[in-house]
């Protein structure tokens, strides 16, 4: 139950990718048959992705994934527009691919405003408007948060940003294939997504760049992707991305309804555990996301116990974040360190069933109770 981390590649996706490792292995830049076939496949994938986003094909750049997409969007715009202004706005709960990129730009002379969020993880459109300045060149706010699943009012924020003449990037890594992503309706100028979050291959993603937005490339050395991303295209990966995106969008409505039911069953069941708290919004929430804090215990020890019972999950504890601090998202939402260490994230996917949910609901209370009995903080 860690589908927000990654998903398995669907067999239908593997099938359409395979020819591009073998019979149609050509370099899309070559003029002969193999190259032309690869180029055709690229064009077709680009058209598919563009259509799914409500964009034009020449607004689609294929990348190596979500992190590259965010880096290219933010650094690309910052570099191209630095003579116009050097102010960038983002939020405290962004993925590190956005936050760390913004902070890197700060070291290179840009000014960065990091907006706070409320206790449910929402960025306020009014706060965005207050933070916009004449020298603001870019605003980057994620579509939905990867840890707590809160869905931001992107269209509303986008309209405000546009009114003030800045560009707007959204990290849609968690929402691609899940929510309706129409770049016109969302009022975005740049949007990044990653295939492996929607049953596509790892190492491939897309950055949508609205026509008229200039972008300095991160990778130089070739004319690929309209000179914005050099390097021989990952044809098989790109074909896989387009297929996976297409399938996800076809099945989206039915699958979301199924996942929402499972999600709510999980949330309801976990809330019966004393001293627990659901993180994030209950109304504007990804259909597959559950995030709960259990007081008095630490996340990694919970994950180890769950793993011993065959359940894969994730946590915002320091031990799992790779730093000494727990999740920056939970801290930004006002949780104390102590409570944030005890967070558990379960993210559902295609292969999860009601009986999986019931198994998890049977195991977690036992694990929580066992760890609490060991905890010096618990007076039970």
């Amino acid at each position: 139950m860690d589908h927000a981390a990654t998903t398995p590649v669907r067999p239908e996706v593997v099938e359409v990718m395979l020819p591009y490792f073998g019979t149609d292995f050509g370099n899309a830049s070559s003029v002969y048959g193999w190259g032309r076939r690869a180029h055709q496949a690229l064009d077709q994938a680009r058209d598919t992705v563009a259509e799914l986003l409500g964009a034009a094909s020449n607004e689609i750049i294929f990348t190596s994934g979500g992190s590259e997409g965010a880096n290219l969007a933010i650094k690309g715009v910052a570099w191209a527009y630095q003579t116009k202004g050097k102010h960038i706005i983002t939020s405290a709960i962004e993925h590190h691919a956005v936050l760390d990129t913004a902070l890197w730009l700060k070291k290179h002379g840009f000014e960065v405003t990091i907006l706070p969020v409320d206790e449910e993880g929402f960025v306020s459109p009014a706060e965005v408007e207050k933070a916009l300045r004449p020298d603001t060149i870019l605003v980057s706010i994620m579509h939905a948060n990867n840890e707590v699943g809160t869905i931001q009012p992107i269209a509303e924020i986008g309209a405000i940003v546009r009114k003030h003449g800045a560009f707007f990037h959204t990290d849609a890594v968690q929402t691609a294939g899940v929510l309706d992503l129409n770049v016109e309706e969302l009022n975005v100028d740049l949007l990044s997504l990653s295939a492996h979050k929607f049953y596509g291959p790892k190492g491939v993603g897309t950055l949508y760049v609205r026509k008229g937005v200039r972008l300095d490339p991160l990778i130089h050395g070739g004319a690929q992707e309209r000179r914005r991303r050099a390097g021989t295209e990952n044809v098989a990966g790109i074909v896989g991305l387009a297929k996976a995106f297409e399938l996800a969008r076809e099945e989206r409505v039915a699958e979301n309804a199924r996942l929402t039911k499972l999600r709510d069953r999980l949330i309801e069941g976990l809330q019966t555990i004393p001293s627990s708290k659901v993180n994030g919004s209950l109304s504007q929430r990804l259909p597959n996301n559950v995030n709960v804090c259990f007081q008095y215990i630490e996340g990694e020890s919970m994950l180890l116990n769950l793993d011993l019972r065959g359940i894969a999950a994730s946590s915002g504890s320091a031990c799992t974040s790779g730093s000494l601090d727990p999740s920056h998202v939970l801290l930004a939402m006002g949780l104390t360190h102590e409570i944030a260490h005890g967070s558990l994230r379960l993210t559902l996917g295609r292969d999860n069933t009601e009986s999986d949910v019931d198994f998890v609901l049977q195991e977690i209370p036992v694990i929580v109770e066992r760890l609490r009995k060991m905890s010096p903080l618990y007076q039970g």
Partner: protein, 127 residues
């Protein structure tokens, strides 16, 4: 990432609990970094005869707490306070590098309990 011995102590921790009439109590760590260890010791003469712990923390934090109770029991307080975090890690057949600093606090918890015991003993003999 954890050794079998760490997982053994994590899944079957030894000596979990509290000692109501403990001779020394030590607590180290803080909730901010996500590890708190509390140790209770019972001392007879100069020897640690009973030891219990409670830990809030990750797998390594729980395993180091558990294993040090086995290492310390039956030792004199002077011997026990010489146990180092490094020895605790070795006893567990090693810990992941990232855990060596943040979660390997058991020797400090034991030293704190022994210090508490010494203070109490000195106060008792003075009165």
């Amino acid at each position: 990432m954890y050794s079998d011995k760490v997982m053994d102590h994590f899944t079957n921790p030894r000596n979990v609990g509290e000692i109501a009439d403990a001779d020394g109590i030590g607590e180290v760590g803080n909730a901010r970094c996500g590890d708190i260890m509390k140790l209770w010791i019972k001392v007879d003469g100069d020897v640690i005869t009973d030891i219990k712990f409670k830990t809030f923390g990750c797998g390594a934090a729980i395993a180091t707490s558990s294993v040090i109770t086995e290492m310390a029991i039956g030792k004199s307080v002077t011997e026990a306070e010489q146990i180092t975090n490094q020895q605790v890690a070795e006893e567990l057949h090693g810990l992941p590098a990232v855990k060596m600093h943040c979660s390997n606090l058991a020797a400090e918890a034991l030293a704190a309990a022994i210090e508490d015991y010494r203070k109490k003993a000195a106060a008792d003999s003075a009165s």
